[in-house]
Symmetry: C2
DNA sequence: CTCTCTTCGGAAAACGATTTCCATAACTAA
DNA sequence: TTAGTTATGGAAATCGTTTTCCGAAGAGAG
């Protein structure tokens, strides 16, 4: 394997000089710099990131800490899009990424988790799927041992940033639009997982909307699953005029229930997943750019590495209207 | 950070001795071994895998090389299940896992890919989603620089194993069952991606079945998408008695087309994803245990590291019959 | 009781980078 | 010309392991 040593020899300089060129350190003359770069080209040298990580605490080895919801269809898509967006951007930044799932650390203490991360020379973490009940992760963030970026969880401190869309506004808008396009003021809101940050934000938005538009709001919690939404719609769908769901998957569940009950209610969803193709009727939803969110998270991690303090980064969202035929054909 | 040095001091032995205990080397007396283990416990020591990877070529840092099919619903589920199964098992083996997607290496040569993997100190690779057209990956495997395990691609050499289910038998069985349960001998087979290893195996099985059961077989290729399957069913569904699809997602596409054409045809799928919940009629399918497949791949990689030669590992599959109500409610 | 053969444990050299610190060389100013 | 900076490049320590090799102690044989 070609190492920095070979490059040094080829360029006729010291190892340290090569390293300086590689890392854009100032104290290298442009001649030497060029000579080194030429040698790098010729030898096709790629620095060993493992060695770099070992010797430097700065080098970015980052962990993608994911609360997986395996096999819930739409959720899988969101997971994959988050992961893929992050990996892509991480490659640009030459970050090393390790993907970890929450369930791998069930029954582990913070200290054990920290030790594990340290054993991997992890310096930065991107977290998503965090709910208020995930104590260990919260402790991890508070300790500020690692640079963290939380997606959709408003946790910030000197070494923690948050990337999110404006869930309150988005939920408000999509529900308002749907209600305005239809008649009636009795709204069934099928919320997501209890104690989810996103869930609470959206409920807050719905309550505000209820106040603003004089609605009768019926709120029920479910998992982000088709099943829960379907069951809740069976129970409460009939006595409402409109069904607002916390995800597209839930919207589909609701539609199926309505269909089976043989009644029509306008339904709106959230997320803008490709699952939208499964809807059986027109639907409003909020499209999130999941890849962009996680890519931004990587960028933000880079900022934190550079010494920037944690901050809240708000990403844009988009209201869309879906028709069955729009997507599939 | 507590290092092997600290453990050595605590136990009153040399660093090398600690390492030997950690890696189960023979030449350590049980007394010393215990003393070291006690020190490890007390200090809560976790070895730094980055350092280990740097110094040893044996230590398993493995890459999960994935041909992602982002946002095709069912495909996402399969991806996630593969990834999650592998990560879990890798953790047991204390392997370090890096997830990489094919598309990240578009336009890259084998040498560039190799260099990248080496720069990450990767020694083993698990590959899935490989089609016959992925030249670079095939070259990578042939070079035998890394230990490889290919899922669903029959590539074996001294350092490459293959994990798969018996696609031929599975396809044969599920189609046979569906045909026997119904009437007619005109079968529309909606195959997967052209040049996919799995695709070809299954087509072969269908041809054999056609011979055995005296069927008139109409084969058409599509992407593993609902859309393609739907379109193909519109075109060719009417003149056949039975529709056999290469995936559950495709089966759903076919069912939708049939519904819209207002004709009934038995449809069978493949994979046994949770997407099965979306079917609108009874359906036979083949359930694959994706987590088990990728977990087995990790085990097999460990075997290869231990010096075992590459081999073909056949995993079991299961025929299942799905009803709409089975899954969702 | 000595000689050889094991068994065990330690010293030290990797692995491939980063980074600190020091020695020049070169330049500036007086 | 000389003292004082500053720019530049190198030597060496370091990160935390693994692994080779060697010496010492203990065991067994004669």
């Amino acid at each position: 394997m070609v190492s920095i040593k070979d490059v040094a020899k080829q360029a006729g300089v010291a190892i340290s000089t090569v390293s300086k060129v590689l890392n854009n350190y100032p104290n290298v003359s442009s001649q030497t710099r060029e000579r080194v770069q030429k040698a790098v080209e010729e030898l096709n040298f790629v620095p060993n990131s493992v060695a770099a990580a070992l010797s430097s605490k700065k080098v970015g080895r980052i962990a993608l800490l994911v609360n997986l919801n395996v096999s819930a269809q739409a959720i899988d898509e969101i997971d994959m899009r988050y992961i893929s967006g992050a990996l892509q951007k991480a490659m640009e930044y030459k970050f090393d990424v390790i993907t970890l799932f929450f369930f791998m650390f069930k029954d582990k203490t913070v200290d054990e988790l920290i030790r594990y991360l340290q054993s991997q020379s992890i310096t930065g973490i991107i977290i998503y799927g965090l709910s208020k009940e995930d104590l260990v992760i919260h402790q991890l963030i508070e300790k500020q041992i690692f640079k963290c970026v939380a997606i959709d969880a408003p946790l910030m401190n000197d070494s923690t940033s948050c990337i999110t869309i404006d869930h309150k506004t988005a939920q408000y808008e999509v529900a308002k639009k749907t209600i305005e396009e239809n008649t009636g003021n009795k709204v069934l809101y099928i919320a997501g997982k209890k104690n989810g940050y996103v869930t609470d934000d959206r409920i807050e938005a719905m309550k505000k909307l209820a106040g603003d538009m004089d609605l009768i709001l019926d709120i029920h919690y479910g998992e982000f699953s088709e099943k829960d939404s379907r069951n809740l719609t069976f129970k409460y769908g009939k006595k409402s005029n409109i069904v607002v769901c916390a995800s597209d998957l839930m919207a589909i569940g609701a539609m199926k229930a309505l269909q089976e009950m043989d009644i029509f209610r306008p339904v709106c969803g959230f997320d803008g997943t490709t699952l939208m193709g499964y809807v059986g009727q027109q639907m409003n939803t909020v499209r999130q750019d999941f890849e962009a969110l996680s890519a931004k998270a990587v960028e933000e991690l880079a900022n934190l590495f550079d010494g920037q303090k944690g901050q809240l980064v708000m990403m844009p969202h988009e209201l869309v209207q879906i028709n069955y035929t729009d997507i599939i054909v």
